[in-house]
Symmetry: D2
Subunit: 389 residues, 4 copies
């Protein structure tokens, strides 16, 4: 897919101390076909402009507000204006920012969780449909080559009929009350006004849930959540463990925690079928294990010829040369770029054709968060019977 010139994007959020902003920018740069040209990096306009200048953006593309940015960019001539916007603000702003750009006819890449309420999530779905917008949600962990391979292996039938899923996302960085010690990331994530009804489930549990759905295609029928707050005075949960019933009789355990001291970014998943099982761990992401009842365990390794096309197409360098987390975001950016170029070439919108999480995944994620918190609060199984078709 060849383009003249680069795809241009703008960013909302992701200022000086927001690490995730720089991760997005590095990822967008990696393949050389995407260019940052505009942004509102901070709610403090001066800071935003200063930061944009550091990034060597032209001052006339640095705006006071995302509303103005959406409006002004839309007014620019096609060959100049941004093709898409990246939304990396705290959660509570996602909805408004996304809505503004969608309405302005600009494609969107948005951090998860997509919104803080179901109503907002549903509204974004409607807007995306109405405006025929490309919308990608950065559940980046499904961007790893060996997660792609996991999906391919499940699809190939090599595991047989699925029976059980054990997925975990454990971190330890909220073990102490760091939100009161100037940790900005902790500060908004533990604050209901900005994070919404959930902290840990929203921040990382939703990644775990998406990983299961991405690899297996299974949707949750009902879940039972045990929601805990270990650090005193914290208004939202910092730990959540769930029993999950998926479609087709598949049973699951989902563990998520941000107070598991000593864990860094321990996302891992095991999927058991009746013929084989697989295991993948984010902290050593270039390997995947397959286990069988009657033959040696196998270690699949990134980049090899024996892997699926889906996995190989999301790989940049040869076997034994580690690929990292930035590549997972880059794979989303690359797929979004393909979609945009395809659109410009006149392609029909076909959401299934592109391998990135969509606005519907965003809706599923928000629903999952709400149902988990609901279950935890009420102490009952909660059904999820209104999945996106």
């Amino acid at each position: 897919m060849f383009m003249e010139g680069k795809i241009r994007y703008g960013m909302v959020g992701g200022g000086p101390n927001a690490l995730i902003g720089e991760v997005h920018r590095m990822a967008a740069r990696l393949d050389g076909n995407i260019e940052l040209v505009s942004g509102v990096f901070s709610s403090d306009s001066q800071k935003s402009v200063a930061f944009g200048s550091e990034l060597q953006l032209s001052e006339d593309r640095l705006y006071d507000s995302y509303q103005k940015m959406a409006e002004k960019e839309a007014d620019l001539p096609e060959e100049k204006r941004i093709d898409f916007v990246v939304v990396v603000t705290p959660n509570h702003l996602h909805f408004d920012v996304c809505r503004s750009f969608i309405k302005a006819g600009i494609h969107v890449v948005c951090d998860k969780p997509m919104t803080n309420t179901m109503e907002e999530a549903e509204e974004l779905c409607r807007l995306v449909e109405k405006n025929n917008t490309i919308f990608a949600l950065t559940h980046n962990y499904s961007g790893y080559p060996m997660v792609k391979e996991a999906k391919s292996l499940v699809n190939s039938g090599k595991l047989g009929n699925l029976r059980k899923v054990v997925v975990e996302y454990s971190q330890g960085w909220l073990s102490q009350k760091v939100e009161e010690e100037g940790n900005k990331q902790a500060s908004w994530r533990t604050d209901p006004d900005r994070a919404g009804i959930s902290s840990t489930v929203a921040d990382i549990g939703s990644h775990a849930e998406h990983l299961v759905e991405y690899i297996t295609g299974l949707q949750i029928e009902e879940l039972y959540a045990d929601i805990n707050t270990f650090v005193e005075g914290r208004p939202l949960e910092d730990d959540a463990n769930m029993l999950v019933h998926y479609e087709e009789g598949v049973r699951g355990v989902l563990i998520s925690s941000q107070v598991s001291v000593g864990e860094e970014n321990n996302l891992n998943i095991r999927i058991y079928g009746n013929e084989a099982s697989l295991e993948w761990k984010q902290e050593n992401p270039n390997y995947l294990r397959m286990k069988y009842p009657d033959k040696p365990e196998e270690i699949y390794k990134k980049g090899n010829l024996y892997l699926s096309a889906l996995s190989k197409n999301n790989t940049r360098i040869p076997p034994g040369h580690p690929e990292g987390l930035i590549g997972t975001f880059a794979n989303i950016y690359s797929a979004v770029a393909d979609a945009i170029v395809g659109r410009e070439d006149g392609d029909e919108v076909n959401l299934d054709a592109y391998d990135f999480p969509t606005v519907y995944d965003g809706l599923e994620g928000v629903r999952f968060i709400r149902k988990a918190i609901e279950s935890g609060k009420k102490g009952v199984w909660v059904k999820i019977d209104d999945h996106v078709a």
Copy 2:
């Protein structure tokens, strides 16, 4: 602790095809101070005698039934009769066999689960108390040197206040309906008449539960179990996952499964405190990991001087020289031998003085199994408020 002559024991169960019997015998031999002299190895008397002869036992110590064995051995002169009996029959026979020997004044080492009903378990407790019998239950996994170290580390306060436990015991050997293909172990374990009300929870979930209690000393306040049967036509569960509330606000997840294809004997535990966490895996048992919020992860290794006395005292060979599962049983046998010698030396019975699971651990295990199955069937949290004091 020096003895004249060896401690003598007899065995009930553990015949030709019962692997666990040979594991017990190897373990009992390891330290050279315990001798097998008597037994009923099979309900088929001929088989039993033939097997006992292979083991080079004297024919007059091979009995037709365990009842007769208890009676006759009790009648032998003290310097000849067995000091204790090892009970390695299918579950449903544990109670009767144990009762017979306790009543005959013979100490007991019994496989888990102790009995199939609470009434039986309570009755054994009463009998043990009344007869002042030494009674050990072979929750062998707590016999590993690095599990002892885990207990010592928790006791030392190095983890701070405990918050969360994640324990798992996953196997795959019941993934297919092997009980119909002549697998004797599978046959009785999946049969309610012999295994009782539970298969997987009784067989391995109870090991996981005991491991938590051994290391942390924490008792369960309530649990919520999701009980599954994946192999069609199987009358008992083959998979069970639980949310657990321990004392002192500690939260837990307990995963157990015998249909997790490709898993061999994957028992592992993680314990998270507010200051540090630990991790141990049975399949690589000579190592234990400690993780901290602000310094490098540590790998504690079996046999080193920096370990606790409890750990070192349960170690036979130097660092880097792997110790295996047989040693875990041997550690129980060694502790039982010490207790017996102590008793002969006139020691008071002091259950806390000896480091092996007791009849009360057996009672707790039976209670755990029943509560888990109850929760799974009713779909409610079940309290455990009647722990042994």
Copy 3:
């Protein structure tokens, strides 16, 4: 260090099928401050231009030959011409290309090995000195954050006096005669006309040697090499194992192989001091192990606060978020960019101030390759007594 505009570079080599070219370009893009603007990507001029256009370079910056490129770029106004050139041709061309650009006053980033002969390597040193050129050699593996940490740990004295080094770089991709099956990378690397006197030592043994020198600062006093060619008809070695005597009585073993079937990119190093030892493995690069005589092994993990500034400054994302190989090249590019900006700001040339391999490392590498091959051919210890001071 703030710049107006980006640093501009050109590339020689690295055309359509040359993976290493794209790795360099991705690395150069990562931090957003370096821009590719010029190149000769192939000796076939048409291919070169076509490829440059795909990269969206302006046609007037795509040249027929590297000679012309050096000349024309030097003639461009300062604000337009390239600041440095990246040389990613087969080995035999490195010298001529580097010389052309150095003479034209353009800084250089060159792949290893620097040249095919000592004379050429020494000439490049002289030229670099004379022209006051910044010259970086891409021994990228020393760019990993945990290799930086290894260097810091050795420097800190935590290992005590060094005693022994075991370093290995094993691959398997040349196990079969793939150079006759159209594998271009294999083709030139096994061809004396293009690769020089050595294949495996030059291609990967030199990385291993540099890793030792980078981390420990130790230079080789003498070495004894066993040089093997396993694949019949191959004119150069495909396996080489060495005994090494370093300064200060340190002893070493260096293993390198490209016929170790099943190995992907297995570069690993262990350094033993009299007080502690460290271990690092490229295929799981974000971890480093420290071992002690009398306390638990430690796992240092990338990105943590307890690491050295040198390590943290070469890290882009938080602990538990894997960084990969592209980052190692990016770290060299970043250091080169700093050096160039520093130069433009009027800094003195101070080679020690910048953390990238220099032209003198290149000379040491070429010397190492020659001495190893000499030792292997003659079957004698070969001294290296003419190290760069």
Copy 4:
């Protein structure tokens, strides 16, 4: 193979502080068919008797000297006297002790290295032949189930033609001068009068060499050794690294060290063929890895049905249940017991029929040690052209 009564053995050496003696005794006990009945456990007769009594041996079977023991035991009636003796003295006594018992017609199990000189080793070979004695050397590491599997895999041709072997045995316990701090094991191992001409090569390098020969059947054609003494004042080497040329063009690297701080008992081996390679590590001994050029790496796991008969026959418990180092000695004892029973049943002596290291392996080991030290001292390749046919 069924016996009446147990096989009886005596022990020379292995007294109170000699850990290896207890390891042998535990191993001999494990399978229940071998019984310790006699011994000289210390050169100090009183200590010896006291220790024998602790082991509950009859006093009339505790002797003043090994000479008397050989003589007296030989005079006992067949159904009472020992079938074999275990020699676990310091190295310098092996020869005399073994000779005494062989001459007395008693089978021998001897620790490695077999003797301190070639002449002694050859003499033992002659004596064994002449007296038709069973003689086993305890290179125990080849007793692990997964080492047996390695041998089977090589024999099966699954690796193709062998090319390269990398074997290592690194320990750290002699990093400091512990022989002067009361460490008895260190004391005799570093003393030329007792250990012979070599410390590290004799103690552990010889294990590494035997492991290669056991698995591959390859004999060394020539070797080049770099012999080092890191701890000042130590008369023998504490570190030795070798380049090795095996038969059939196979190349090798052998690393051995007892000053590699932090290493515990790091024996590991990799064998590369032209079609696949294997890797095994003693510190996690129940797993073996197979690597291929074009398919996923495989992890073979102890005890599984897919393994070779040789491996399964040396396994005691099921997959996932760790077996340890004591089992490796037990496997030698078990094979020796089989040989003795076979002999009593009138079998011809067929050394190839039994899977334990023989007197000829002992001779090869002594030769290896001498050639390695010779190479190290002279700085030349040393040929080994006088292998046992």
